[in-house]
C-alpha cells in the first residue's frame, strides 16, 4: 500500500467513525468501536507514514501491544 492509498484509507476511517458517532450515539459499543478505528488509524500512520514497518520486530510488537492495551483500558473505563 503506497502513501496515497494509506491516506485515503485514513480519511475513510475518519468518515466511518464520525458517521457511527452521529448515527448511533446511544450504542453501548460506540466508544469501543470509535476508539478501535482511531487505533487502526494510529497504527497506519506509525507503520506507513513513519515507516515503522522497516523497524525491528520489537518496535512493531511494542507499538501494537501498547495501542491495544490503551484501547482495552479505554473500553473498560469509558462511561
Amino acid at each position: 500500500m503506497n502513501h496515497l492509498a494509506t491516506y485515503l484509507v485514513l480519511l475513510a476511517l475518519t468518515a466511518v467513525s464520525v458517521f457511527a458517532a452521529e448515527r448511533f450515539p446511544q450504542l453501548d459499543l460506540l466508544p469501543l468501536a470509535v476508539m478501535a478505528l482511531a487505533t487502526t488509524k494510529f497504527l497506519l500512520v506509525a507503520f506507513r507514514f513513519m515507516e515503522m514497518r522497516r523497524g525491528h520486530l520489537a518496535w512493531k510488537v511494542g507499538l501494537i501491544g501498547c495501542s491495544t492495551l490503551f484501547l482495552v483500558f479505554l473500553a473498560v473505563t469509558s462511561p
Binding site: Y7, T14, M35, A46, F49, E51, H56, C66
Partner: protein, 189 residues
C-alpha cells in the same frame, strides 16, 4: 540464498533514529495517561461530560483531522522524494505539509475564539478544563513541529537523510496524538 545481516532492522536503529522514537514514546505515554485520566474522570460525572461535549462543534475536529492527515501524507511523500535524491519534489511536498499545519493552527484559533466567546474556558467545567489542557499542549507540539519543518525547508540542500526523516517523524507524532484526542474529545462522550 544468503541474507545480508547488515540489511536487517536493528533494535537501536529504528527509521529516523533511536532518540526521536524515544521522544515519540514519551510523548505518547504522557498523552495516553492524560486521556485515560480524562475517561476515568468522565466516568464519575458522565452527564456533565456529555452535555459539555455537545457544545463542541465536531466539524472543527473533522476539518482539523483532514488538515493533519493531508499534511502527514505530504510529509511522508516529501521524505520519500528526499531519499530518492529528488529535492525539488521533496521541497514542494514539504511546503504542502507546512500549509496543512498552518491550516490546522488557523482553524484551531477560530475554534478557540468561539469557545472563549461562549465562556467555555479553562476551569468552566471539568470537560473544558481537559479540552483546553490537552488541545493547547497538542497545539504547542504542532507549533514546534512547524518550526522544525521550517528549518528543514531552509536547510534542504545540506540536511542529512536521518535528520530529515527524524523531523518528519516529529511531525507525524502530532498526527498520532491528534488521532487519539479527536475521537475522545469530539465523539465518544
Amino acid at each position: 540464498m544468503e541474507t545480508d545481516a547488515t540489511s536487517r532492522p536493528r533494535l537501536l536503529e529504528p527509521p529516523g533514529g533511536f532518540f526521536i522514537w524515544m521522544l515519540v514514546v514519551l510523548e505518547l505515554v504522557t498523552f495516553g495517561v492524560a486521556l485515560i485520566a480524562l475517561v476515568v474522570s468522565a466516568r464519575n460525572d458522565p452527564e456533565t461530560y456529555h452535555q459539555s461535549r455537545l457544545l463542541l462543534d465536531p466539524r472543527y475536529g473533522i476539518a482539523n483531522t483532514v488538515f493533519l492527515l493531508t499534511s502527514g501524507y505530504f510529509m511522508a511523500e516529501s521524505v520519500r522524494h528526499f531519499h530518492q535524491a529528488d529535492r525539488s519534489r521533496a521541497r514542494r511536498r514539504l511546503w504542502l505539509a507546512i500549509a496543512g499545519g498552518l491550516a490546522f493552527l488557523g482553524l484551531k484559533g477560530v475554534e478557540y475564539a468561539d469557545k472563549i466567546a461562549h465562556d467555555h474556558t479553562l476551569g468552566s467545567d471539568p470537560f473544558f478544563t481537559w479540552y483546553w489542557l490537552l488541545t493547547v499542549f497538542h497545539l504547542m507540539h504542532v507549533l514546534v513541529g512547524l518550526v522544525i519543518l521550517g528549518c528543514m525547508l531552509r536547510q534542504l540542500a545540506t540536511i542529512k537523510g536521518d535528520d530529515f526523516e527524524a523531523g518528519g517523524i516529529f511531525w507525524h507524532m502530532c498526527d498520532l496524538i491528534w488521532l487519539l484526542l479527536f475521537p475522545i474529545l469530539y465523539l465518544i462522550f
